[in-house]
């Protein structure tokens, strides 16, 4: 493959967001007719790179060059890149559930003249395209009536309708079952025979090893290496090493844990998905947390860690099926978020902008919002105490803002995260569940957040850290549970934890209980 002509070359791409350098001097070379995989941890910059390529981030908002079919391309938006034959299929499918397969395939690209759709042509082409992707359905079937696997195929057919030359698939099999995944991978091989080039972003390393010709590994927004799968004899272990192999020690503050007795225990916790009742998002999960202990939850996206945490936090996700929570030896029943807060639980959500903060608030209002009763007399908020409480957190957590009257939208990601942490520290919790506490924030702020987490543990609180960054879990946590498809698959002490072991536990149901 390595002698095929180069179809796409991205040269020293750098993309910055306020406070974060998402891509730094990234290079990518994709040859004509190959399947090129891009691997990296969450936040390594894979999706950002693809958004640069497809014009979501238009020319001028990044630096570097994109050479496509030998000429420099400056895409101003998605339409421009699609016009050039580059089509990206996102993890979140862009289909309209209430429209038919045909209508979806040609959405925004309707055949016909003067805005009037020629349904004869549309239907005939839809049938051709469906045959091409191996989709056997009536083209008039509504999208909501077919499974996710077939929806994925409709997306690909839609890409083909646009005369695709370079197909980019972002986590195409994340939501698919084994059979559908295999079908999709087989399809990719078929496209390759037809001369279509594909870029596939995937967390499923076995699939990459199985289907890709070459692989580019990204880490922290940089290109680490590009490997030829066959020539270099790349296997999953090799990819994992490339993805996680970095110096861990200097990134975490020194900390000597002071771990006490088990004070929080969850037994046999089972939760159903809120919509599809047959799906369990947590399956008989049991775990413990000790005082002063930082416990990690490792798992791939969609493993059910967030769902588990939120269902514990006052049943704010899914439908409770069974299970018990014990705190200090006594069973507690948490039917609402305020119950959970009253019993000393705090949950810092993974998406601070969507569900963690009210972005219209200022710093002080946010910080006290989870326990207004603490600064109120008969329901009237004491503004002096509010201000003082917020001010003390601003100082102790070193939130970079002139005053606590500042709106939270004006803060950087790291400082917003500190505000959310303060909001939950203000509730005087015994157990803090921190879901992706350092997502989207820069290294310096991460270091500070780690320090805060360690201080909380030193105060005798239990801290659960859910993270998709393995080095973070290994560097920070005293003990790590691995989760795979709603099941806790491992319980690993810090001294035993290494990325490869964790990655294996995170991708299989094999029980590896520590004795």
């Amino acid at each position: 493959m390595s002698d095929a002509p180069v179809l796409l070359e991205m040269r020293s791409i750098t993309k910055e967001f306020p406070g974060v350098k998402a891509l730094s001097d990234v290079n990518l070379v994709v040859r004509s007719g190959e399947i090129h995989a891009i691997a990296g941890e969450n936040g390594a910059g894979k999706s950002t790179l693809m958004k640069v390529l497809s014009g979501v981030y238009p020319y001028g908002t990044y630096s570097g060059e994109i050479l496509y079919r030998g000429t420099e391309s400056r895409f101003s938006d998605i339409r421009a890149s699609e016009h050039a034959g580059i089509v990206i299929i996102h993890q979140e499918l862009a289909l309209v559930p209430g429209m038919s397969i045909t209508e979806n395939i040609f959405l925004g690209n309707e055949p016909g003249r003067g805005g009037v759709i020629d349904w004869k042509i549309a239907n005939r082409r839809a049938i051709e395209l469906m045959a091409q992707v191996g989709l056997e359905e009536d083209p008039d079937t509504l999208i909501k009536d077919i499974g996710v696997g077939k929806q994925q195929l409709v997306e690909i057919a839609k890409a083909f309708a646009k005369d695709v030359k370079l197909l980019i698939l972002d986590e195409p099999t994340a939501a698919l079952n084994e059979a559908d995944s295999q079908h999709l991978l087989e399809l990719l091989r078929g496209f390759k025979r037809q001369g279509i080039t594909s870029i596939i972003i995937s967390h499923k390393l076995n699939e990459i090893a199985q289907v890709a010709d070459s692989i580019t590994i990204l880490r922290d927004g940089r290109t680490i290496e590009t490997l030829d799968i066959k020539a270099d004899g790349v296997d999953e272990d090799r990819i994992v090493r490339g993805m996680v192999g970095r110096e861990l020690h200097s990134r975490f503050p020194d900390h000597t844990p002071n771990i006490g007795e088990v004070f929080f225990e969850v037994r046999d916790w089972t939760v159903r998905h809120p919509i599809s009742a047959e799906r369990l998002v947590a399956k008989h999960s049991s775990f413990t947390v000790r005082r002063g202990e930082i416990v990690g939850f490792a798992g791939l996206m969609g493993a059910g860690r967030t769902e588990l945490a939120m269902s514990l936090f006052g049943r704010s996700y899914g439908t409770y099926v069974s299970g018990q929570i014990f705190k200090d030896g006594k069973e507690i029943v948490l039917k609402s978020v305020s119950d959970a807060i009253d019993h000393g639980l705090a949950y810092v959500s993974e998406d601070r902008k969507a569900i963690g903060l009210n972005l219209l608030d200022d710093i002080k209002t946010s910080m006290v919002s989870a326990k207004l009763s603490k600064i109120s007399n008969h329901g009237v908020v004491d503004q002096v105490r509010e201000y003082q409480a917020a001010e003390s957190y601003r100082k102790s957590l070193r939130v970079k803002a002139p005053t606590v009257d500042e709106g939270v939208t004006k803060l950087s990601g790291g400082n917003q995260q500190k505000v959310v942490l303060a909001k939950w520290m203000f509730t005087d919790p015994d157990l803090l569940i921190l879901d992706e506490p350092t997502r989207g924030i820069d290294v310096g702020a991460k270091y500070e957040i780690y320090g805060i987490i360690q201080r909380l543990a030193d105060q005798g609180k239990g801290v659960i850290v859910i993270s998709s960054e393995l080095p973070e879990l290994i560097g920070l946590c005293d003990r790590i549970y691995t989760v795979f498809e709603g099941t806790i698959t491992g319980d690993i002490l810090r001294k035993d934890a290494d990325p490869e072991l964790l990655m294996k536990q995170m991708t299989s149901v094999k029980k590896a209980q520590r004795s």
């Binding site: 910055e16 967001f17 306020p18 406070g19 974060v20 350098k21 730094s24 001028g60 908002t61 630096s63 922290d220 927004g221 936090f313 006052g314 704010s316 609402s336 978020v337 305020s338 959970a340 807060i341 949950y347 959500s349 969507a354 569900i355 963690g356 903060l357 009210n358 972005l359 219209l360 608030d361 200022d362 209002t365 919002s369 989870a370 326990k371 207004l372 009763s373 109120s376 329901g379 009237v380 908020v381 503004q383 002096v384 201000y387 003082q388 001010e391 005053t403 009257d405 500042e406 709106g407 950087s412 909001k423 820069d442 290294v443 310096g444 702020a445």
Partner: protein, 432 residues
């Protein structure tokens, strides 16, 4: 930061929603002065001011409730019908069962609460969008009004009329003015001074920056000048007229609700729900209860507004309250509330309502027909909200600032060039 912005910040506080009021108050003053000139001094004459208050107090009472509904992210289209329904019920029981007027008022508020509980139940606990629930309520209670009243008008007794058509009575020595109105003005002036003084003390206790003395002076002197002027106008009108009772009811409600929305946990919860319902829920806010109470509160205020209107017009009829919901909603949006919820203040809505009221009143005084008045009101509403939307896109909220922008070269909106963007990022800590 421009000087205008700085001054605005120190006068109105630093938060964005407060800052938006600056423009509204400015607009209100401008409109009042404009009509004062166009009507040769008729606008600010005692007679006109008095009729302005009694004519619009019930719309402003609705605006109070509507602000909370809109901040929580809902809408209430039924308020006019609910007001009319309660009006006819109250008129009916007073006529047929000779219920004393004060008891009838309490019953009227109770009926409003029941209606509110009904609508709140569907919105909060069943999850039907408030738009639909209250659209249904709009038809339901309009029909109810005509059913109970046989599509006819029912007169109300003398005592009841006071809440809509009554004035502060004449007491004490003959000063040439209405003494109680003078007293009311005095109390308000003292309240303004105390409020500012307490605000300063609170800032000191917080060990936060206290605004310079001259800012405080402005914030005390300007309202007092306005109050003194208004007091003399209201107190010096035709004998037998003075500050309307309905205006006093409105004033008390404004003070109470401004306090509740700003300073209580419950008020904070309304903003939290409207700003980000999921975040509020995950912070322990009882979403359903907040939605229920907000909808219920609206109907109670609609009941009150309906009764005041009936009292003013001395009878309840089948056409009462038509279009009120739209006036109330317009007041709230002109007053700076966000359609998406989470933003807006009681005082802003009152100012917004006053802008619409003065506009309406002034145009009428000028003899402009109701057709053209409607057109102008529609344009004003659209422009006010469009200006806000534009400001939001630009990342700023100040109406004034956007008026000034064309005159300042440095703030001209320009697409972010790569050079600029690079400089900006250079300032912030950068990840490796």
């Amino acid at each position: 930061m421009s000087r205008v912005k700085e001054l605005q910040k120190s006068l109105f506080g630093g938060t964005t929603s407060n800052a938006r009021q600056f423009g509204m108050i400015f607009t209100l003053v401008a409109i009042v002065l404009l009509f004062e000139i166009l009507t040769d001094g008729l606008t600010l004459s005692p007679g006109n001011l008095i009729s302005l208050v009694s004519q619009y107090s019930y719309i402003l009472i609705l605006a109070i409730g509507m602000l909370m509904v809109i901040v929580a992210g809902h809408i209430d289209l039924s308020v006019g019908s609910v007001a009319a329904f309660v009006g006819i019920v109250v008129a009916n029981i007073m006529q047929d069962y000779s219920i004393p007027w004060f008891l009838a008022i309490i019953i009227g508020l109770g009926v409003g609460a029941l209606i509110g509980a009904w609508q709140g139940f569907w919105v909060a606990y069943v999850g039907v969008p408030a738009f639909i629930v209250t659209l249904a309520g709009m038809m339901l209670f309009r029909g109810g009004n005509q059913y109970i009243g046989n599509a006819d008008t029912i007169p109300v007794p003398e005592g009841f009329r006071n809440i809509g058509a009554g004035f502060l009575p004449e007491v004490g020595p003959n000063t040439g003015y209405n003494n109680l109105t003078l007293l009311l003005g005095l109390v308000l002036c003292v309240a303004v001074v105390i409020r500012e003084w307490r605000g300063r003390r609170t800032r000191q206790e917080m060990q936060a920056d206290v605004a310079p003395m001259w800012i405080s002076a402005i914030r005390v002197v300007i309202p007092i000048v306005v109050i003194v002027f208004a007091t003399l106008q209201f107190a010096g009108g035709r004998v037998g007229t003075s500050f309307p009772i309905s205006g006093i009811i409105l004033g008390v409600l404004v003070v109470i609700y401004a306090f509740v929305t700003r300073n209580t946990a419950g008020g904070r919860h309304i903003y939290a729900v409207g700003g980000n319902a999921r975040a509020a829920e995950l912070s322990g806010v009882k979403l359903k209860r907040v939605n229920f109470l907000v909808m219920m509160n609206m109907s109670v205020l609609a009941a009150l507004a309906g009764m005041i209107f009936v009292a003013r017009s001395a009878a309840s009829g089948p056409q009462d309250g038509i279009g009120w919901e739209l006036d109330a909603i317009a007041a709230v949006f002109v007053g700076g509330a966000a359609v998406s919820g989470g933003l807006g203040t009681i005082s802003g809505s009152i100012v917004g309502g006053l802008v619409m009221a003065v506009l309406n009143n002034g145009l009428q005084l000028m003899g402009v027909g109701s057709d053209r008045v409607q057109i102008i009101k529609g344009v004003v509403l659209l422009l006010a909200v469009a200006l806000d939307a534009y400001n939001k896109k630009q990342g700023r909220f100040s109406v004034i600032d956007s008026l000034m922008r064309p005159f300042r070269r440095d703030a001209a909106p320009s697409p972010a060039s790569p050079v600029e963007a690079g400089q900006e990022h250079g300032k912030s800590p950068v990840a490796g």
